[in-house]
């Protein structure tokens, strides 16, 4: 059984919701990013999304735009991003890792080579923001044949007909984008999200995770209550930014403030 399935099965058996954390690979640098993700499972984080930085992140708000720029400035690229996962796997073989990003760096890297590397480094799933189901032939079908999970995004603008189309090839879990917008901007409306979630769960057995606008532990908890779990990204990335010194270097504060916040999110979601 793959790590994603195993994780969600365990959560279900324990009647717990999933906590996912998004970080940009190499923000602010390789070592501190590795250090941070290695500590996430201790804070009750169930899965990790690692952003593959891109120069033109079309679906991201200012927080993740800036974190991508910091990462690129520190020399991050796909090879190093994969190496980050490989290093993480040396000490952790159970926490699912999802790589999230845009298609161009993968296309330039070489699709087959990228899939091979994902498998050998211990990546479990992929979210590629600018590959809608209309472009499935491009990459996803090949990735799925190789047992990489393809996490589909469902959004408030997705209608019923598209929902069927999206879910027909979905694996792993479904990522519900809780706002009509870019990452880390507006706050989701609980009622709207709840209505849309019911539509999704009526047609899929896959777990449904909510993300894109969740910023606080209490918001995380109320969103998790109506779904199978949540992802927090921009809020963590903002904490990294605010803890850096003037040259975008790590300070003593960075790790502690991030882990402290993440642990509050987990406690709130798990109702511990």
């Amino acid at each position: 059984m793959n790590r994603i399935k195993k994780t969600f099965n365990q959560l279900k058996n324990n009647n717990k919701k999933a906590v996912g954390i998004f970080l940009t690979a190499g923000d602010p640098d390789f070592e501190s990013c590795l250090n941070l993700i290695q500590k996430l499972p201790e804070k009750d984080v169930d899965f990790i999304e690692i952003g593959m930085p891109f120069s033109d992140p079309m679906a991201d708000g200012p927080s993740i735009q800036l974190s991508s720029q910091r990462a690129l400035k520190s020399g991050m690229n796909l090879i190093k991003c994969l190496s980050l996962v490989e290093n993480f796997r040396k000490k952790n073989n159970h926490t699912p890792i999802i790589l999230m990003g845009y298609y161009n760096p993968i296309y330039k890297f070489g699709k087959e080579k990228f899939i091979e590397n994902c498998l050998s480094c211990g990546v479990d799933g992929l979210i590629i923001v600018d590959l809608p189901p209309e472009e499935d032939d491009e990459f996803y079908i090949e990735a799925e044949r190789n047992k990489l999970s393809i996490i589909r995004l469902v959004t408030p603008t997705t209608d019923r007909k598209r929902l069927d189309k999206i879910l027909s090839n979905a694996t792993g879990f479904v990522y519900y984008v809780s706002i009509t917008g870019i990452t880390g901007t507006r706050a989701p409306n609980l009622e709207d999200v709840s209505t849309n979630l019911k539509k999704i769960t009526s047609v899929t057995d896959l777990p449904v995770i909510i993300g894109f606008g969740i910023k606080s532990p209490s918001q995380a908890s109320s969103m998790a209550d109506i779904s199978d779990g949540i992802v927090v990204g921009s809020a963590v990335v903002d904490l990294i930014k605010s803890s850096l010194d003037n040259d975008d270097n790590l300070t003593k504060n960075t790790l502690d403030s991030c882990l402290d916040f993440i642990s509050k999110v987990s406690k709130s979601v798990k109702h511990n």
Partner: protein, 406 residues
């Protein structure tokens, strides 16, 4: 529209929006339903006689079409070769070809019941055209423009403001056209249900490259008719400048199946193709995915987009429309390039010889026109004079004023 034969080069894109490997719909799911809606509405509109009629009325009475095809006798004499004709799209209302597309798209927006418009702009010509059409239709207008471009295209910024548009300065990246497009797309993702995005060039996700090309093809359709009237034959050579490539496709597309017509697109070589400062994605880039389509891009080995450079804000884009990429792949069109410096000479030459101050964009095309014309005595060449240069004076004058005979 005329019948298109099976082997025609004009029948693209396919149903997935692809021209060969280029084009497509590489957008976030949030935008996907909207893009499909735009596509459906567009396909309906172009079959709707009342839509076409309305478009034709605005083209004639508001834009001022047809634009003249002008025999540039003094330029012809100067270069001493082919007869040079200029397709005078700089005489359109708002001073460039951009309005051809904007009127088409705003009529579509109206048909779709959307009265809030967003647009990106580089040189400001597309922004001005969009602000103009929004004023005309009483629509709300927001224009995304790179902070650096706001600086170098002040007159256009003032025009847009006068026309009632809200300018959103874009500071992400290098603050040029690419970044303006990113921010416009981000805004659209956030306002997908209420706003219509008028993309200014033949790029972006399907159906934009096709739609923009169709609205601009009026340039080539007119030129074809006009040259047949004047010369009783097709031209031997077509030349146009390329940023995203909409003015060029507009002129070229109706001639694609006329194999005897040689076609040249002119990219911006900035400080030279060997420097890191240019905007020639076909001559010096490789295929990749940006802004919703696959096309030739300026990118590094890691697939990160490299900032383009051109003295001309309208050509300062690291990509190109996907149909150009395909036409480049199959070799139907030859793509050449002009440096900043060469375009400045052409800018001055045209002003002095013809009394036409060209925009810096078509000044790039004029440089290549001169080189090609010189070698082709007895031939006929049409160049698209796609915009006028008033907007460029503040940035150009300090550069050419140094030369002794200014």
């Amino acid at each position: 529209m005329s019948e298109i034969s099976l082997n025609s080069l004009k029948k693209g894109p396919d149903s997935n929006g692809k021209f060969g490997i280029h084009g497509g719909r590489f957008v976030a799911e949030t935008l996907m339903p909207l893009i499909l809606e735009v596509e459906n509405s567009y396909e309906e509109a172009i079959k709707d006689k009342s839509f076409i009629n309305e478009l034709e009325i605005y083209r004639r009475d508001y834009i001022g079409r047809p634009s003249p095809l002008y025999f540039a006798e003094r330029l012809t004499e100067y270069f001493g070769g082919a007869k040079i004709y200029l397709k005078r799209d700089e005489l359109n209302h708002t001073g460039a070809h951009k309005i051809n597309n904007v009127i088409g798209q705003i009529l579509l927006a109206k048909k779709m019941g959307k009265n809030k418009i967003i647009a990106e702009t580089g040189a400001g010509q597309h922004g001005v055209a969009t602000a103009t059409a929004c004023a005309l239709f009483g629509f709300e207008c927001e224009v995304f423009m790179g902070a650096m471009d706001i600086e170098r295209q002040k007159p256009n910024v003032q025009r847009m403001q006068l026309l009632g548009a809200k300018i959103n300065p874009v500071t992400s990246g290098t603050g040029t056209l690419k970044d303006a497009m990113n921010d416009a797309l981000r805004f659209w993702v956030s306002n997908a249900n209420t706003h219509f995005y008028i993309i200014g060039t033949a790029a972006g996700p399907h159906p934009y490259p096709k739609m923009v090309r169709d609205f601009q093809s009026i340039i080539g359709e007119e030129a074809k008719k006009q040259i047949l009237e004047k010369e009783n034959r097709l031209p031997d050579v077509l030349v146009a400048c390329i940023g995203g490539g909409s003015n060029a496709l507009g002129l070229f597309h109706p001639f694609l199946d006329d194999q005897e017509v040689e076609i040249f697109g002119v990219e911006a070589a900035g400080k030279g193709l060997k420097s890191d400062s240019h905007a020639a994605s076909l001559s010096a880039g490789s295929p990749g995915i940006l802004h919703g389509n696959r096309t030739y891009l300026l990118q590094d080995n890691d697939g990160q987009i490299i900032d383009a450079h051109s003295i001309s804000a309208g050509l300062d884009y690291p990509g190109i429309g996907p149909e150009h990429s395909w036409l480049h792949d199959i070799g139907r069109i030859k793509y050449l390039s002009t440096t900043d410096e060469e375009s400045l000479s052409a800018f001055k030459l045209c002003s002095r010889l013809e009394g036409i101050i060209p925009a810096l964009e078509p000044a790039h095309a004029l440089h290549i026109t001169g080189i090609l014309a010189a070698k082709r005595k007895g031939q006929i060449l049409i160049m698209n004079m796609c915009g006028r240069g008033d907007k460029d004076l503040s940035s150009v004058l300090p550069l050419i004023i140094k030369s002794e005979d200014y």
